[in-house]
């Protein structure tokens, strides 16, 4: 039970808005010590785990290209393109992205999106431009609200699409767990049961996105008395 103290450190640290790197490292050290490791062993365990998870940070190598294209006006071009489409609103645009992201993830094409490659250079500027072409320049809180929703659409589309694909990591994890306990299921049988939740997710978040334009109207009305 003592090993749970690391979770307490994490919860308090995040609530107190301390630097997350400090909080996470402290939690790792405390957990290891409480779990009966020596101080050297804890640092070794943490260092080994950090080294083995370097693949998580490899994606930052995309930043030079994205930055180079931004320098040449990629965001501006994305905005112009959306500004020309009369029917484009922030809500409809993000709904379209949600549907595309979910559908492609369901086919296993999870690399077709992402925050660094897709949301920052293309989706967020387009979502902002769709609101700008109706309302003119946006106050900062509204701009940030639209950006946050652009990132949310990417996450929700990915999470509730990918499990429909049979060879995704989470499906293989479930299959592996059940097998260890003597229950054999086909991956296809698992991914079929991801479909009801995927449809409900599309329904719930899609409806929220369709209401987004009215929320933006209201936020703008409050910002400009």
């Amino acid at each position: 039970m003592l090993s749970l103290i690391g979770i307490v450190v994490v919860v308090i640290g995040f609530m107190a808005r301390l630097n997350p790197l400090l909080v996470v490292t402290l939690a790792a050290l405390v957990t290891g010590l409480a779990g009966g490791m020596g101080p050297i062993e804890v640092v070794e365990t943490f260092g080994k785990a950090f080294k083995e998870n370097r693949y998580v940070s490899v994606v930052w190598v995309v930043l030079p290209v994205i930055g180079l294209l931004e320098r040449a006006g990629l965001q501006e071009r994305a905005k112009t393109l959306i500004g020309q489409i009369e029917a484009a609103t922030t809500g409809r645009l993000l709904l379209l992205y949600l549907v595309l992201r979910q559908a492609t993830a369901a086919l296993g094409l999870t690399s077709l999106g992402g925050h660094a490659q897709m949301v920052r250079p293309l989706i967020a500027p387009m979502a902002e431009a769709a609101a700008e072409s109706r309302h003119g320049a946006l106050p900062d809180p509204v701009r940030q609200f639209i950006r946050a929703h652009s990132a949310a659409a990417d996450n929700i589309g990915l999470f509730f699409g990918e499990d429909i694909f049979i060879a995704i990591a989470s499906i293989l994890l479930i299959k592996g767990f059940l097998e260890q306990n003597g229950i054999f299921v086909e991956p296809l049988h698992l991914s079929v049961w991801a479909i009801p939740t995927a449809l409900v997710a599309l329904l719930i978040h899609g409806s929220r996105l369709l209401m987004l334009d009215r929320r933006i109207d209201r936020a703008l009305a409050e910002a400009r008395p």
């Binding site: 994490v10 950090f50 294209l69 996450n155 299921v185 929220r208």
Partner: protein, 316 residues
């Protein structure tokens, strides 16, 4: 064979360049801290596989002290003005999308191609997607550099501009993955599973289903990752109660249970790469801005998952 080690050398070279460029940027008041932080990270990438675990651990602790106390600074590499960008965008038109779309398209094509037997042995099949993504970066650069007539140093400086906007948050997802490994080694999962099964309301099917779906979401919020929560919750509640005592379908228990965990992922800063990193990348002043946008969907969907599980799991 091209695998993770090659990617680590590429990543290490990129972070080393960031470190050197930071050192030469006098506009950043904390430039030596940035230099040290990205230099250490680069060392971990380049040499981590050959260093003893203790040295890797000390590198992490040094990085955390550099960034955690007083934070990192932001450099101001020379970039284009909004005016210049508008002109460039008008001149280049839709051709600008070509390199941007080359990244995901190469990632996609590579993922399929590198798994074919004819190309077997060229790329580690387990890392085909990540290798293809990085290959996509080079394809995009090969298209963009001549098109924009940019100097080779320009992408590195622009990369630094973006990496400085993200700051220390860039390392947080990897750090949290390492925390998960320490949690596992110290037996945190087993302790939580114990609590869950001790507190479990026996008897009712609905109570078992709700304890399982909400337990998945809450434990995922704590661990930042549904993959860490699933084996614990499924072994603590899903399998013994829903499947074995009440005769529920194991596939539905597994699939909808995992998706309940994903609802938790949408609500926690511990899932840094989905929630904290985009907030930094999109320059939101509220670190939890993305989470705020997601919470209503996550809660409604968690209720829906509980209802779906209750209706479906005992019927098939």
């Amino acid at each position: 064979m091209i695998g993770l080690e090659v990617l680590y050398v590429i990543g290490g070279a990129f972070f080393a360049a960031i470190s050197v460029l930071s050192a030469r940027d006098a506009s950043n008041p904390k430039r030596w801290k940035n230099t040290a932080f990205w230099g250490l990270f680069s060392a971990s990438f380049l040499f981590g596989s050959h260093l003893p675990d203790l040295a890797n651990g000390l590198i992490v602790i040094a990085m955390v002290l550099v960034a955690g106390v007083g934070g990192l600074g932001r450099g101001e590499p020379r970039t284009t003005t909004p005016q210049e960008r508008a002109e460039s965008a008008a001149r280049l038109g839709n051709r600008l999308f070509l390199p941007a779309l080359a990244i995901p398209l190469t990632a996609l094509a590579g993922t399929f191609a590198f798994k074919r037997p004819e190309l077997g042995g060229l790329v580690d099949p387990k890392q085909a997607t990540l290798v293809s993504l990085i290959l996509g970066v080079f394809v995009a650069l090969a298209i963009a550099l001549p098109m924009l007539r940019a100097r080779p140093a320009a992408p590195l400086q622009e990369g630094r501009r973006l990496l400085d906007t993200v700051g220390w948050a860039a390392v947080l997802p990897q750090m949290l993955a390492a925390l998960g490994a320490v949690f596992a080694a110290a037996g945190v999962g087993a302790a939580i599973g114990q609590i869950a099964s001790d507190w479990l309301p026996g008897g009712s099917r609905l109570a078992a289903v709700a304890a399982y779906t909400f337990g998945m979401a809450i434990f995922t919020m704590v661990m930042g990752n549904a993959f860490a929560a699933f084996p614990v919750m499924a072994a603590g509640i899903g399998l013994p109660l829903i499947v074995q005592r009440f005769g529920g379908d194991p596939a539905i228990m597994g699939a909808i249970g995992m998706l309940s965990g994903f609802c938790g992922t949408l609500m926690t800063p511990m899932a840094a790469n989905f929630n904290i990193v985009p907030a930094a990348l999109l320059e939101l002043s509220d670190r939890n801005g993305v989470i705020r946008a997601q919470v209503p969907t996550a809660l409604l969907l968690l209720l829906a998952n509980t209802a779906l599980m209750y209706v479906l799991v005992f019927r098939f």
